[in-house]
């Protein structure tokens, strides 16, 4: 038994320490946003955030997650209350089949956490290891740019709110 912290909640999971995080998320905790694409760290569809950084969950064994905070797409927002990154992807209609999108969003989220105004080159570099078989790349780029603006606006309004109080 091992304790895994996902989206702020603790889960007791019974998995071998060499089990990839992706299997535990999908099979044990039933969080299905992260997708199995290749299982080899080559496509990016399984990306989640661990302690603020995007990692590929299909090649991250449980032994590496002791004491870490895992965030999946479900932890960012919901259908009724989408997070800025999710809103931006919806508003840009950036998904075709959608299989790659959770991974893309998690990688973009991790990028925006440490760099709130990324250049196009920085966005491309961050998403470089993510494949999209449908070819929605241009919309994905637009969505990430939009998310950066949304987050900035949210930050700005929360600071004004605070200073108004």
């Amino acid at each position: 038994m091992m304790t895994l912290k996902v989206n702020g909640r603790e889960h007791q999971v019974d998995a071998d320490p060499d089990t990839p995080l992706l299997y535990v998320l999908r099979d044990d905790i039933k969080l299905n946003a992260a997708k199995f694409g290749c299982g080899l760290g080559q496509c990016g569809s399984c990306a989640v955030i661990v302690d603020g950084k995007a990692i590929l969950s299909c090649i991250t064994p449980m032994v590496l997650l002791e004491g870490k905070q895992v965030t999946t797409l479900e932890g960012l927002g919901s259908v009724s209350e989408p997070a800025p990154i999710q809103r931006a992807f919806i508003e840009e209609q950036a998904a075709q089949c959608g299989y790659c999108i959770p991974g893309m969003m998690m990688r973009a989220q991790a990028l925006l956490l440490k760099n709130s105004k990324p250049t196009d080159a920085e966005i491309r570099a961050a998403l470089e290891q993510h494949l999209c078989r449908c070819g929605t790349h241009m919309r994905i780029l637009r969505a990430v740019r939009r998310a950066a603006r949304l987050m900035e606006a949210a930050d700005a309004s929360s600071t004004t709110n605070r200073s108004a109080q």
Partner: protein
């Protein structure tokens, strides 16, 4: 006496200005000559140092860290003001041969004129034609960060006196034409020894340790002579394939600074790559029966079924969860991972290269098919990565355990970030350059 001394010093240090010319028009050069120059520039790997990541080709500005300070590469585009636009062919040849710029200043030997001095007049002419027909880029050179007294260029004249052997290549009549061609390229333009030969305290290659392995950009440039740590000994065919395609099933994939080298070599005439391979195979020598046997053993280990799950250390667990799905499958290279029993990185005397590649992976080449590997910098801390590296060493090599692996990983983490930001890249080599430009 004093006067004689002064006169001698003057003769050693002083070099005349070579008069400026108007940049020659591109059509002043013969197309076949330019094409040959292009191939030679690829063999010389000129773009690696003279281009920064995302920057204009050959416009210089790459910081080259040396034990003596940081030296910035120069702009070798034909821009009149900031490049070599005003250089005559004679000025270019003098720089190659003697390490002196048009104005008569001594150049730092980061520019490997200790090798380029052996390049023939004919090849210098082709290189000149190629460079003078590139797009001129206005990019002023950056100030080197070197402290006194090494920032005084006349000091370099002293270095040359000690270490620069200005002789042209003398063919060895007892060897084949191919071998001689390889020897000429390796000693001169390809400047393999600049990375693969260790340097002395004054930064010169140690003549009696040729190809015994050196350092470059926080990578270890492997020994290529009989001290090679490749689990399977190299031969000419394997070297040819590796230099041509960037990988070999018994040795793995080129990465780090070597990725750029093979990426360049993938576009030069076959015969030149073959010649380099033939000559270098001779340098590495015929393996002893023991060495051969070890090679067979490594190949056998690579073919045998995985033992990974039978151990339960942290390193083994990480290996099974993070590495084995690519490195222990039957998927062939270059898209599958090399079995680590065949990896020189795992068998080499220090763990730097392994740390570098596990941290940053091998990224895709834009627009081309290429092997890739994800980096693990964000999913493992230094201790976890050290546990993994120690496990790999124990399981996949016949060499004694490394020491201080955790510190190596921490250092590599810092260095790799800088390398990835500045190096001109690619950090990988295309898998099949023959597919280039095909629809």
């Amino acid at each position: 006496m004093l006067i004689v001394g002064v006169a001698m010093a003057f003769a050693i240090v002083w070099r005349p200005v070579i008069p400026a010319i108007d940049p020659p028009a591109p059509y002043a050069f013969d197309a076949a000559l330019i094409k040959r120059g292009r191939d030679l520039a690829a063999i010389g790997n000129c773009n690696e140092c003279h281009t920064v990541r995302g920057g204009k080709n050959f416009a210089g500005g790459l910081p080259v860290p040396t034990p003596f300070g940081t030296i910035y590469s120069s702009n070798i585009t034909p821009d009149a003001e900031t490049g070599i636009g005003q250089w005559s062919e004679a000025a270019f040849r003098r720089a190659m041969r003697d390490g002196v710029n048009r104005k008569g200043e001594h150049l730092y030997p980061t520019f490997p004129y200790d090798h380029f001095t052996h390049v023939s007049d004919e090849d210098d002419r082709a290189l000149y034609a190629f460079l003078m027909t590139r797009q001129p880029v206005h990019a002023p050179s950056r100030e080197n960060q070197i402290s006194f007294p090494l920032n005084q260029r006349p000091v370099i004249a002293g270095w040359k006196l000690l270490f620069l052997r200005r002789d042209s290549y003398q063919p060895d009549a007892t060897r084949s034409a191919e071998w001689n061609r390889g020897a000429y390229l390796v000693a001169g333009l390809a400047h393999c020894g600049a990375c693969h030969t260790p340097r002395n305290a004054l930064g010169a290659e140690r003549v009696n340790a040729q190809f015994a392995g050196g350092d470059v950009d926080n990578w270890l440039a492997y020994a290529l002579n009989d001290r090679s740590h490749a689990p399977v000994p190299w031969d000419a065919d394997a070297l040819y394939m590796y230099l041509r395609s960037g990988w070999h099933p018994d040795h793995g994939t080129a990465r780090g600074p070597m990725a750029q080298v093979v990426s360049n070599l993938s576009s030069v005439p076959d015969s030149d790559v073959r010649a380099i391979a033939v000559y270098m195979a001779d340098i590495s020598g015929t393996p002893t029966p023991d060495r051969k046997q070890e090679g067979e053993a490594a190949l056998a280990q690579a073919r045998s079924p995985s033992q990974a799950s039978q151990t339960d250390t942290a390193g083994a667990t990480i290996y099974v969860g993070a590495c084995a799905s690519c490195h222990e499958t039957s998927r062939p290279l270059p898209y599958g991972g090399v079995n680590l029993a065949l990896s020189t990185a795992v068998s080499s005397p220090d763990p730097r290269n392994l740390a570098n590649v596990v941290l940053s992976g091998v990224s895709a080449v834009e627009g081309e098919r290429s092997p890739i590997m994800p980096g693990f910098a964000d999913s493992m801390n230094d201790a976890q990565m050290a546990a993994l590296l120690n496990y790999l060493r124990a399981r996949f090599s016949k060499q004694p355990a490394w020491t201080g692996v955790e510190k190596t990983v921490a250092d590599a983490r810092r260095a790799v970030t800088v390398y990835l930001q500045t190096s001109a890249g690619p950090r990988n080599a295309p898998a099949d350059p023959t597919q280039r430009d095909k629809p």
